[in-house]
């Protein structure tokens, strides 16, 4: 007879080791689909490694790809800490991106220096609004935010397509459904010459540090964690649970909105309906790999970005479908879930437990 019981202590090595091991195992599992596609896994891994660390440009591409993932990863991590299931980062990202091009493409007559801060603020505000709505439906009507945020993703994406064929359409765009470009003074400056990595990364890193500090050291962070661990107890202790939820909803949605701002004003320069290849959903994987820790989000985002960039370059070299990257990402989520179980519980044979239990 075997039984599962919680571990008495959780070692630090486990907390750090589980995500790393999960990532490695998920990469290892990728050998199966690689073999199925008739590719030599060793060569494929070597190609992936070269695609990530092969040159300064290759690694700068990883940083570029990691930038939106840090934003969406933080968005998921903060919300999940409060057990607010924001699965809508994808939609909130597009709201932020829409705000960025709406303001940044010269509609408003704003002098040079002010434009960029305004874009960043309004982008964050748009994303936040996208999360406040489902949080209201949750607190007021009890509507499950998982379902509402998921459905809102589809609504917002259709709305983006509508805007791109209507008010936001670039008059010079030769009929393509894309927005007018963001003005030069509204763009996030690039970090390196002739590379795509931009200062959105710096903003993401600063916000990750800030989130880490707030979560660990501030009263706000304490309340947030209390609400997440036991909402009833937090309410009993005099914490205004709904207010905490709205607070974290604003932050989470705002961070996701910034992912959209950073992609539009840092990378692409204009908005199309295929701006995000699922950064919002991948952010959930990033947050889980990070154990919902903001600093961990940065590391996890770098790993996931490496998988995508590496798989892209491997795909070009070997003709294996680049959906391999999505497979690895999803498998690392499932692995880290199981790993979390191994870290928290142990399996014991009945009869060998302590007499006291």
């Amino acid at each position: 007879m075997i039984r599962i019981e919680p571990r008495q202590t959780q070692s630090r090595a486990f907390t750090l080791g589980v995500p790393i091991l999960s990532a490695v195992i998920a990469l290892g599992f990728a050998a199966i689909p690689l073999l199925a596609a008739g590719a030599n896994p060793i060569t494929a891994y070597a190609e992936m490694f070269r695609g990530v660390f092969g040159s300064v440009f290759a690694f700068s591409e990883v940083l570029t790809r990691a930038t939106p993932l840090i934003f969406t990863g933080l968005a998921a991590a903060l919300a999940f800490r409060a057990k607010l299931w924001n699965i809508g980062a994808e939609g909130q990202l597009y709201l932020g991106a829409m705000a960025a091009v709406a303001i940044g493409s010269g509609v408003l007559d704003i002098s040079g220096i002010l434009l960029l801060p305004l874009i960043v603020l309004m982008g964050a505000a748009a994303g936040a609004a996208g999360m406040v709505a489902p949080t209201y439906l949750k607190t007021r009507f009890g509507a499950d935010e998982v379902v509402t945020t998921l459905l809102l993703n589809f609504i917002i994406l259709i709305f983006v397509q509508m805007m791109l064929e209507g008010p936001l359409k670039d008059p010079m765009g030769l009929g393509w459904p894309q927005s007018a470009p963001v003005l030069d003074q509204g763009m996030l400056p690039p970090l390196l010459d002739r590379m795509r990595v931009h200062s959105g990364l710096i903003l993401a890193l600063i916000l990750a540090g800030l989130a880490q500090f707030m979560l660990a050291r501030s009263v706000w962070g304490f309340r947030l964690r209390a609400v997440g661990e036991n909402a009833a107890a937090a309410r009993h202790a005099g914490i205004n649970v709904n207010r905490s939820l709205f607070g974290v909803a604003i932050l989470s949605g705002g961070l996701a909105g910034l992912a959209g701002v950073s992609e539009v004003a840092g990378l692409k320069g204009y908005l199309t309906a295929d701006l995000s290849p699922g950064f919002g959903y991948t952010g959930i994987v990033v947050a889980m790999l990070a154990g919902l820790s903001p600093v961990g989000v940065v590391i996890a985002a770098l790993f996931i970005a490496s998988v995508f960039v590496g798989a892209d370059s491997m795909s070009r070299a070997m003709g294996v479908s680049s959906f391999l990257a999505d497979l690895v990402v999803s498998m690392s989520l499932l692995c880290v879930l199981v790993g979390g179980f191994v870290a928290r519980y142990r399996i014991v044979r009945a009869g060998t437990t302590r007499a006291a239990s």
């Binding site: 439906l137 509507a143 499950d144 379902v147 459905l151 479908s321 999505d326 989520l333 499932l334 179980f341």
Partner: protein, 314 residues
């Protein structure tokens, strides 16, 4: 107004509503079974994709239409089993596991499709299910053309509503499944296996979800496309709450949804010049949210939904 009335009275409108509702009937029934046993299955969106891809590919490889249906159900059951292992004996977060299953199932389907057909721009087509044209019955006024324009899979979906209702409400197994979603301790006390019941319910429910996907590639269309599931799984999760976890109301919810969706397509042709087409495309998702908001407060949630249960631990 006359136009709307004309639409509502037309046979083709109701035939279309039932057709649109069919994948949702499968999906809502599947999600309902899982949740009645106490486990939320957010893998549904990905399991739809798996069912759509596997069913279609099996037919394309020569398995025959019903062979494809079987392959889709088995593939859905497999991903359901994965979700069941993670959430039942291991008791992991049902939200995160479900989303993980959706990501995994979707990417596995896409990867398989791309690996099998590396350089095609449009997928090969199969000969899909044809409408069941029953003599005499098909000639009935109104009902004849609404019901007997449907394919065998729609009939299967309607039959499953009855079967699921019967099993849940008239059999000992149904009582046990509902009990395991309300009060697993009581089930354990009677010497029944909580794990077994929950795992079984998730596997069967997931197989039904996959049939919803299979309907898309084998009846509604005749090939597999990226993004073709398009949130139908999430809509089902909302409809289950709307239906208060009852098969009859689930059928009603799916039909209402199908009717609204069919109506918006027809209205689009009527007033398309005045309103951008995308407004109509949003309607199904907006409706789902409204249905959820209306039903949420009064919803009779299975009491142990989302709560893991460990043997020997009270």
């Amino acid at each position: 107004m006359m136009d709307i009335l004309n639409i509502l009275l037309s046979e083709s409108f109701w035939a279309a509503s039932l057709r649109i509702a069919t994948p949702l009937i499968f999906g809502v029934l599947g999600a309902l079974i899982c949740e009645r046993a106490g486990v939320l299955n957010l893998g549904i969106e990905g399991i739809f994709v798996v069912g759509a891809m596997c069913g279609w590919m099996a037919v394309w490889l020569g398995a025959g239409l019903w062979g494809g249906v079987l392959v889709a159900a088995l593939a859905g059951g497999f991903f359901g089993l994965l979700h069941a292992i993670l959430t039942v004996p291991l008791g992991l977060s049902q939200h995160v596991s479900g989303l993980g299953i959706t990501l995994f199932a979707t990417s596995a389907s896409y990867y398989t499709y791309r690996t099998a057909l590396p350089n095609v721009s449009s997928p090969p087509r199969i000969e899909p299910f044809q409408p069941l044209d029953l003599p005499v019955l098909s000639d009935l006024p109104f009902l004849g053309s609404v019901l007997f324009q449907q394919t065998a899979l729609t009939w299967l979906a309607l039959l499953l509503v009855v079967v699921v209702w019967y099993v849940l409400n008239r059999t000992a197994l149904g009582v046990a499944i509902k009990a395991v979603g309300d009060n697993p301790d009581s089930v354990d006390a009677q010497g029944l296996s909580v794990y077994g019941l929950r795992i079984g319910a998730i596997v069967v429910g997931s197989a039904l979800m996959a049939l919803g996907g299979a309907f898309l590639t084998m009846s509604a269309f005749d090939a597999f496309f990226f993004g073709m599931v398009n949130g139908r799984g999430w809509v089902c999760i909302a409809l289950v709450i709307f239906a208060s976890w009852r098969p009859g109301k689930a059928l009603l919810g799916a039909l209402l949804f199908g009717a609204f969706d069919a109506l918006q397509v027809r209205l689009q042709t009527e007033v398309g010049a005045l309103v951008p087409g995308q407004v109509f495309l949003m309607v199904p998702y907006v409706l789902s949210i409204i249905a959820l908001v209306i039903a949420a407060r009064s919803a009779d949630y299975p009491r142990a939904l989302l709560t893991p249960w460990f043997k020997g631990q009270r």
